[in-house]
């Protein structure tokens, strides 16, 4: 399973894996969006650029998740997924760019689950395993 959920009493932990870092980020965002919606009910008519910067990969993951939540809230969208373009090293750490796909939020059509208030530093982890997989974990405040 490219992403899964961890048991956490008050909130929801997400764990995302991929053969490369970009796909791990894609899966991580999917994991979060599926907490909010049944994403199979969401179309892809709207796209938004997602940009973030952070000193480490772990904090970059939290930044990207929170950026997705912000843009989604600002533009009243329901996102289905994200496509990561690039994660590049900068002088201060890392820079992320990607495109989120979704459509205007419609509560009558979109399978609404639970609101995610934010991604936290709780349980935050990044592992680049010996088998080459990249794994990201963090806890969402719901």
């Amino acid at each position: 399973m490219p992403y899964s959920y961890c048991e956490h009493v008050s909130d929801i932990g997400i764990r995302a894996e991929g053969p490369d870092l970009k796909s791990a980020f894609n899966e991580g965002v999917s994991a979060m969006l599926n907490v909010m919606f049944d994403t199979s009910t969401i179309g892809e008519g709207e796209v938004r650029e997602i940009l973030a910067e952070a000193p480490e990969i772990e904090t970059l993951f939290v930044e990207v998740l929170n950026e997705v939540l912000s843009i989604q809230g600002l533009d009243e969208l329901a996102f289905k997924r994200i496509e990561t373009f690039e994660i590049e090293r900068t002088a201060g750490g890392f820079r992320y760019s990607g495109i989120a796909f979704g459509e205007k939020f419609d509560r009558t059509r979109h399978g609404v689950r639970t609101e995610v208030k934010g991604a936290t530093y709780s349980g935050l982890k990044y592992n680049h395993g010996a088998n080459g997989t990249h794994a990201l974990e963090c806890v969402l405040d719901v």
Binding site: T59, V112, K117, V139
Partner: protein, 487 residues
């Protein structure tokens, strides 16, 4: 990690000060509730999630902490701080932490007293549920009818509830019965990002989702006749409870400052055991900005509950035929905050910054912050239960002022994760089960409903009993739900 706990009394446990802890930890619990917490700490849960007792010990290492790192009886793991966590910091030498407030700034409870009884509401319960569900926007991404311009948002962040009342959403007396008059001083909208404001401008007067709710309840039991008399509560009386917070604005402030304080923790070299505890010195630029943004978030939440109260009043009046003004405020009190307050610390009056993360302010008799009408007994403490179970109204005590910096529990506290909860219950079955108990639910999300199943929470009666028997507050009344509108 093994955490040693020492029994102080039947309802108070201590984590003795060891290593870099500056103060001990103190937990309000009985034998049965402390045992799983100790076990959880020893097993060091998979996924690297920090057990609640370890979080209590971690907070005890933060610079400037006073007396003890305290956890209320509804303690469960949060991020950084345990939920139910209370920590007071020296206003000069202490720190402010995003983890001590959370993303839902000034999540709180407001209770309105109606002039009707359970028997009078029973026949119109269904109609009332429908009207409330129609009139009070709820659910993920819900938007309201109150639309503000950015300049008006700034004014709302500075003024809080009075701003909304001035526009006709409520009665002037509502303000008197809101913590801090519904307006926390020192809110600076310049320290709130325009993105946070933009996310808010359609969300004033909306409930949100998750554990937020609007309930019609009746008073099942009165424990303290004097306090109930002073609060204007009687057995069988119907009340309306509103549980929600600062919506997207608060979430965005949390998100923005998580980043700011992460950098500040490194910049000021604050020794934090856990990345989640990101913080800044209270007197630093970052700390001051964050506190002023929290104040703005608090004002937004007070205004939000004020607007919802107005809508609920209208709905109640239209279904029952009573005048909207006859639905009066009991009180509005927050449970996710950090606030400057004066407390007696080791016998000396002192200004401290109190973090209450899932803990209700609980001021006892005599405090000038308590409305005059309630001053002889302290203000009502509003403790929310779950859909099928009880909620409570408590009052503060002198002992609670000294021991807990005037704080108490905020609810039942989860015992099962949302994932476990969904595995165990289905929304539709739950609806049926609750309907058999005479509780009508209106919700836009069946899976959200299953996450909030009453069985996923600790027993609220036990949580309240612990605080009552520890003497830090007193039970006044127990409420039972009749109608519940959930996001």
């Amino acid at each position: 990690m093994r955490i040693e706990v020492k029994k102080i009394s039947d309802f108070v446990w201590e984590i003795p000060r060891t290593g870099d802890m500056l103060v001990p930890g103190r937990i309000y619990a009985d034998e049965e509730t402390i045992a799983p917490l100790v076990k959880e700490a020893a097993s060091g849960k998979p996924g690297g999630l920090t057990p609640a007792l370890v979080q209590v010990a971690n907070v005890a290492t933060l610079p400037g902490i006073q007396v003890a790192s305290i956890a209320m009886a509804d303690i469960h793991p949060g991020y950084g701080f345990a939920i139910g966590g209370v920590a007071a910091f020296d206003a000069e030498k202490g720190v402010v932490s995003v983890a001590g407030v959370g993303f839902d700034i000034n999540c709180g409870v407001r209770v309105l007293k109606t002039p009707l009884t359970r028997n009078e509401i029973e026949p119109v319960k269904e109609a009332l549920a429908n009207q409330l569900f129609r009139d009070v926007p709820s659910g993920v991404g819900s938007t309201g009818e109150i639309r503000l311009k950015e300049s008006e948002i700034d004014e709302l962040l500075v003024k809080g509830s009075p701003f909304i009342v001035e526009r006709g959403y409520g009665l002037p007396e509502d303000l008197e019965y809101t913590e801090g008059g519904g307006c926390i001083k020192g809110a600076d909208p310049r320290n709130v990002s325009s993105r946070a404001k933009q996310r808010q401008f359609k969300q004033v007067g909306t409930l949100g989702s998750g554990n937020h709710y609007l309930e019609v309840q009746y008073i099942e039991e009165i424990y303290d006749l004097v306090a109930a008399g002073i609060y204007g509560l009687s057995k069988g009386q119907v009340v309306i409870s509103i549980h929600c917070g600062s919506r997207a604005l608060g979430h965005q402030i949390g998100t923005d400052y998580l980043k700011t304080l992460e950098a500040a923790s490194r910049k000021y070299g604050i020794p934090i055991r856990d990345r989640e505890l990101v913080c800044a010195p209270i007197t630093s630029t970052e700390g001051k900005k964050y506190i002023s943004a929290v104040n703005a978030g608090m004002n937004c939440a007070f205004a939000n509950r004020q607007a919802i109260a107005h809508l609920a009043r209208g709905a109640f009046a239209s279904v029952t035929g009573v005048r909207p003004e006859s639905v009066r405020m009991l009180y509005d009190v927050a449970h996710n905050t950090c606030k400057f307050e004066t407390h007696t610390v080791n016998g000396v009056e002192k200004k401290v910054l109190i973090h209450r993360k899932g803990a209700t302010r609980a001021f006892g008799p005599g405090r000038e912050e308590v409305p005059e009408a309630y001053r002889s007994v302290g203000h009502p403490l509003l403790v929310g239960g779950t859909m099928g179970t009880a909620s409570y109204i408590l009052r503060g005590t002198e002992k609670g002022m000294i021991e807990c910096f005037g704080s108490t529990v905020h609810g039942a506290g989860r015992s099962l994760s949302r994932v476990q909860s969904k595995r165990q219950w289905r929304g539709a079955e739950l609806l049926k089960e609750l309907a058999e108990k005479g509780i009508i639910i209106r919700s836009g999300s069946m899976s959200g409903l299953a996450e909030e199943a009453p069985g996923a929470y600790k027993d609220v009666d036990r949580v309240v009993e612990i605080m009552h028997r520890a003497g830090v507050n007193r039970k006044v009344a127990r409420l039972r739900p009749m109608v519940c509108v959930k996001g």
